[in-house]
Symmetry: D2
Subunit: 498 residues, 4 copies
């Protein structure tokens, strides 16, 4: 389009600090008349962490404005220079940066005001065809891209930590539990790689939900788009992480599903963290005694001199509540909100940032705990004869001898009761005759059960006998481990940290 | 493997009704000794809706057992015949089917008991290498596949309903809102297609999260797999909707993320339904008067003779709470649960079924409401001159004349106040001189603003001027509409119903 | 007021079944035109459980109408007779009662239609000055009164069950836990009476919140009251459980805080049930082995013949999620609802009924489990020497000898480490010299610690030494027990059942 | 008891910064070995706001220790002096106080370390017979007492603000709504005093739930109490706000119901705030136009020059989500936690503080908005003839003429339809003959309806006719207003502020 020469008037000034640039003539919120109002409405205290994303969006927007002739190439260069300088200042000064001014309400206005302060007239052109509504939608999505990548890495790193622990302690035979009752023998690695699978899937979920495209909202304006010839595809191309422009300007400026999806994925990660933390709190009890936590991840008591409490695990478990709360806060916030943008939506960032910060720390902490924990093989082994862990194995032996499983289940159930009545701890303490008598009583020939039955008893034998794909015994563990080692070998990035 | 000839003993009987097949010797829950216990522990009252999925899983399992030699081909045929007969009976008799027995706790045991009743010995072999833990995990996933497809269709149908309404009423000019304040003019279709986009995305989300593979859990046993030579891939191939076998037996039997993901997607759908319902409740007020709801979807008052209340919309909005509640019930249930299966998980189905039933009905109801609603163009048009909807347009005109946007924003803000002071309803009521004086006051030449400025004023003119991709005016609407028509033309299935 | 003679016209008929009484001329929801609409809008499927409360309210209303002359004494008698007959029918026929008609939407209209069917003209007068809005608000409050009393009894009964168990097993010495780590010795009764206190307080909370008076809403009409001379105080006096009339008719018809308060109290009860269930699931593990659950409250496995799973406890724990979900459903439902009645509120009953049913059953089940459980004193005692439970006691001994507590804590912490280094299990295995050396090293005279220190060691001695009010040792237990016995002696009602 | 002379050793030193006082010999969390661990486990960043409550508890504890002879009177004086000095320092220096040390984990240890630094040996005696478990339980309860009082005042102040607004604008006649449809005429004051009732009840709820006594936990120790002769009643008497000592030490140290109850009450307050905010957002629309918000409580748009958005109301509505989230976070945190103290509980303060801060600000902001808002009587009156608000009044007139209400409802329903068919806006536009014909058609004599019927029509007449207690018309308003004025006259404290 034809662009009139810029005739920057000398008299047009950015208003003095204390009013938003567009509200010089009205005594609105943010004025000195009610300081609570200023504090009540501001989001600067938490949205300033978006400054890099906001500047990235502004750069893409400014370049597009130059491309379509709404600003000149020189104005664009001034804007680029100004924004680069501002970013450098904030990088260096953080919360101390002089441009932060709560009376300007939010990050966006602070940056625009600083730019105008720096380069004057061209700075007043940056917001051409843009509203804070599409701007903040963009910033949030750019931030989520970064944050999601970060969480995906931290989840993968945690999965890898379980793999590392499994590599060392994975072949120890331990009881597997259902209903927290001893169920069947497994190897430690079967359980550790369950956690690896779980946290790996948590990362895949995040990847899946954040690719609901198209989704670059910039150019949607306040709700209706613009009558200026903005090239939204050019902006989208300049920010490739987000993909194509959103197809409907009202939807683009009034939904917060990006924040919801992210927080849901964080909530599932937190839920799984709570499950793992609970299990290890149990394993760390005096009664189970399965694991030894590193001293760095236990704490003492102010009253009881002997305590070594698994506080980190408890906090990981407890903080799940906070993340669930963030999710519910977002869902409540959106309930019943009509289109388009409503100020309620400002609260989205508070919740998604909190959920991210919490889960991020928990994942890194979890990884450190996993990498420094030892399974106590002596203690685990000492108790392996409790609980008739091999009862199912004996029933499966009988199946191989032609007994219907349901009947085999009943026969072995009866043998367990026989043991209990005789005060025996294990099926292996029964005589072959006991086993054969039980078969006879169920209507099968006594020799249905042979002496080879005893080779199906005992936890160590059982874990070697599992043969189904994905089993929690030795073969299943080795096969899963191989897949993980292959994958580990392919990852080159450094583990995520904090 | 070598299969001993089946030597079905005559004396091995399924226990008399009133005890589970495996609990003849113990007076456990479900015995007559405490009827509350029976009722407390049962899931039959809600899990029987899974019978087709359970039978499909059992058929795949039985065929695999025959393939690997754990049962004979004849036994397999008997099982197939028995299960087919049972399915036919339940299809016909529903809740009246004689095999439902609450004392057997759940669907799985009712079906197994009925099969044994029908075909005796081979029926006792069906549960070989299987636990209810992997069985119910399979059933739930199969059900979710069906239910998710159903919801995806219902969401798409609702999106299409908005498209149909947009085809008729979409070109009516109406005020667009932010903060529920009149913001900029849009066309009705811009908003209707926002809803279409939103519900379409809700379907895409569901598609995305339910493809987190691999995920056929059958063969995972109680938690550890099996020492019998089960061919899990064969089972997975027979149930292709689920994909490959799960890689870790403990994870497979103790996670309920399928239910969580489904319920989350339903919650997002419900959230968006609540937003739409709220907006149309508003549009249906005497004060807005934008829409006319069909009498079938309003109800009267027991006391006030004149009322026509939008009860369906209100119920859709209110039921969002129930779906959120289902999601948080599941999240709470899973919080802090150690591996592997715990009985708490039984509650998963109660919640996901309730969420599905609720959202399913709401989506179908919403579609009917959309298809029978009319936008009241006369009433909408009558109020279009309120609210200075064209203020942004005038600012954008000034931008095309070289005024920096931020300054243009201030100039127009001043003109709006001028109107208010003079009691004028619209910017178009100002004289050109007023506009030029405002430019001069801002430091620009007076002729920055020409008479053509008035061609940027008035809602009808503004909606024709929007030119950005996805805008909520005429061009944006037509372009979105074209995409929807193309898609509609490609769908051949009938709309979902209830 | 002057009452015109009733001139019942013969031609005024209640509409034929299939339409609400007030909607003869309009084809609205509930008509045959859309069966989904009928099903979507109805609440009859769950609100019919309120029939006694609805009839009680109608009786009070009718008598008041007669008192103020809006109906005659004879009409009132007819209404009373008709309602009594209807109640008797429903008592006998339950869900089979012929008057239930889903097309009438709800309980209220079914009862009114049945009354008109029975007594004609006077039945048409019952709804004088009344709306379903105040009617259902009344019904709900009357139901909550009954339900709350019921829950208060069930909570007290559960508390008493813990007292009964404490009476038998309460003096067994066991480890007390913090962070699930062995902390200090307690007696079993100290913990059992903690649960008694907790569930007793849950009942007190319910009592406290449901006495937020005044609160009889009848006479508030649809939202504004009535221009007829209704005597609200007379109605309130006839239903004394609720207290005085509500002071503001709009508030009375549009708030659902009764349902919220009840559900919150149920959620806290459920939360505490989940804590107790978790603890006993742990105590029931093979590793802890502290308790023996009765066979009636455990179940077996379909695959593993030896299992005795604490399913009831797990279900109690898991169902907490559902109750939390009910609470959040209600909170979400109410969020952002303007005054007065909105149809969203209809969902309130679904949630509060579900929460009540769930918690009611869980409380009764919990009581039965408590009454049939035995603490395994041998197993508990066998492990009492693990974990240095007496470390704090030794520190307190040193305090009595003049050592500052913080220093005493450090001294004993050092002694615990000495034990660990020497492979000793208990502080009592140290020599007096070791203790004295530790005192000396801390700067105190060696003889600060005397031989009497050993009388502060060992769990049995420690539980006898606690002397603070409410302690979890012997004196605290006996003193609490005495208070409970006194209270038990004062209760005469039978335990609640289901 | 006999108290040995204090023999303070010179060598016992508080450990150097970087380790907790009781952990000198172990390299635990908080050591420099893992800074994340230090940050992960600390609560100092949010619990330091409890310093006054912690010191108050320590003073009561120290005086009791002196009373029972565990410390000398002189030691007690030194502790009192030291704590007073510390409190003065923190009062002055806030977050800059030098004693805050994140490596000490929490407030309690920072204060104890500072005290030891200041007064040495007596400082080491303060923690005698005390654990952080009972200490933090006490601090939280003391804080809740203050915070609850504060919220109760803020709720009452908000109620009073509605009363003040009602005093000025309360007699304006306006439409009352149900289902957001015009229902019956009310006076503005009827609705304003509904809000007054609602927020007043929110305060009463808080009062009710926080008086669940007895509840001073100090002296419960870590979980079991103490073997030292602590006088818990003396401590309780010194902190009279909390009442008697808790009766069970395990319960006292492991429940967080104080935080839950407080947060629930805050959630109900937030829910009601969201309802009010929603209603006023609607009233503030161009379409309703019922109210004028003060400019201080609206904000502009960065893009649209004409906007005056009700951001404060929207934020109040949206922040409800955060408070619900806090409640759900707490409920989740507590779910399934066994007795006694678990570190998860540390998160309680984060949630209850956030909920309090949020609701506190919202209440004060709400009060300011209410006090500065004006009802627009011209605009309200202009639309009063829409919606047949007087239909119920006419039906009630017919009741006074002997027509059964149900039939009267049908007659008037028919008359409304007659108006609609004839294009009439109001029942008053019908002729007497129309009314009489409708009566005849229903089987009543035509003269059932007299000319006086018209004195029951028109909103202004209707609001004057309501006569039930608590009605939303003139008499109900005046009577409620009188009660509020009486109460206002009795309150002497200044309004709460922030």
């Amino acid at each position: 389009m034809a662009q009139r020469p810029s005739t920057a008037p000398k008299s047009a000034k950015v208003p003095a600090s204390g009013g938003k640039p567009w509200e010089t003539a009205k005594s609105g919120a943010g004025s000195a008349s009610d300081p609570l109002a200023t504090r009540f409405v501001e989001s600067l205290s938490y949205d300033r962490r978006l400054y890099k994303h906001d500047i990235a969006g502004s750069l893409a927007h400014a370049r597009m404005l130059a491309k379509v002739g709404l600003i000149t190439a020189d104005e664009c260069r001034q804007i680029e220079g100004g924004l680069a300088a501002i970013q450098a200042e904030i990088d260096a000064e953080g919360e101390q940066w002089g441009g932060w001014n709560q009376e300007l309400e939010d990050l966006h206005m602070c940056l625009e005001a600083a730019l105008i302060e720096k380069i004057d007239e061209p700075g007043r052109k940056l917001h051409t065809g843009r509203s804070r509504n599409d701007q903040v939608a963009l910033d949030l999505k750019l931030w989520v891209e970064d944050a999601a990548t970060d969480i995906e890495h931290a989840l993968e790193d945690l999965a890898f930590a379980f793999v590392e622990l499994a590599r060392r302690d994975g072949r120890i035979v331990m009881p597997g539990y259902t209903h927290l009752q001893r169920a069947q023998p497994i190897v430690v690695g079967g359980e550790l790689l369950a956690w690896a699978s779980i946290f790996d899937r948590a990362g895949r979920r995040l990847t899946a939900v954040r690719t609901l495209i198209p989704r670059n909202p910039l150019g949607s304006g306040a709700l209706a788009g613009s009558s200026l010839p903005l090239d939204r595809q050019a902006v989208a191309d300049a920010l490739p992480a987000l993909g194509d422009p959103t197809p409907n300007s009202i939807d683009a400026t009034s939904n917060r599903e990006t924040a919801l999806d992210m927080t849901y994925c964080l909530a599932i990660a937190a839920m799984n963290l709570s499950r793992w933390a609970e299990q290890w709190v149990l394993y760390n009890t005096s009664e189970f005694g399965f694991i030894h936590l590193d001293d760095r991840y236990t704490t003492g008591s102010s009253m009881m001199p002997q305590k070594r409490n698994p506080d980190m695990l408890e906090l990981i478990r407890g903080r799940t509540g906070g993340v669930y709360g963030n999710l519910f806060a977002l869902l409540t916030m959106c309930k019943g909100l009509p289109l388009g943008y409503n100020r309620d939506l400002q609260e989205d960032k508070r919740q998604v940032f909190a959920a991210y910060d919490c889960v991020r720390d928990c994942l890194v902490m979890a990884r450190r705990i996993v990498l420094t924990t030892r399974f106590n093989s002596e203690r685990i082994e000492a108790g392996l004869d409790r609980g008739f862990l091999d009862a199912t194995s004996l029933a499966e032996y009988l199946v191989t001898r032609g007994v219907a499983f349901r009947t085999a289940h009943q026969i072995v159930g009866g043998l367990v009761r026989t043991c209990e009545q005789r005060g025996l701890h294990a099926l292996a303490q029964l005589a072959l005759g006991d086993l054969q008598a039980a078969c006879s009583a169920a209507g099968y020939p006594g020799d249905t059960c042979g002496a080879d039955a005893f080779s199906w008893l005992g936890a160590a034998r059982v874990v070697a006998r599992y043969q189904t794909f994905g089993n929690a015994g030795l073969t299943g563990f080795e096969q899963q481990m191989q897949a993980w080692e292959t994958r580990l070998a392919e990852v080159s990035r450094a583990p995520s940290s904090v």
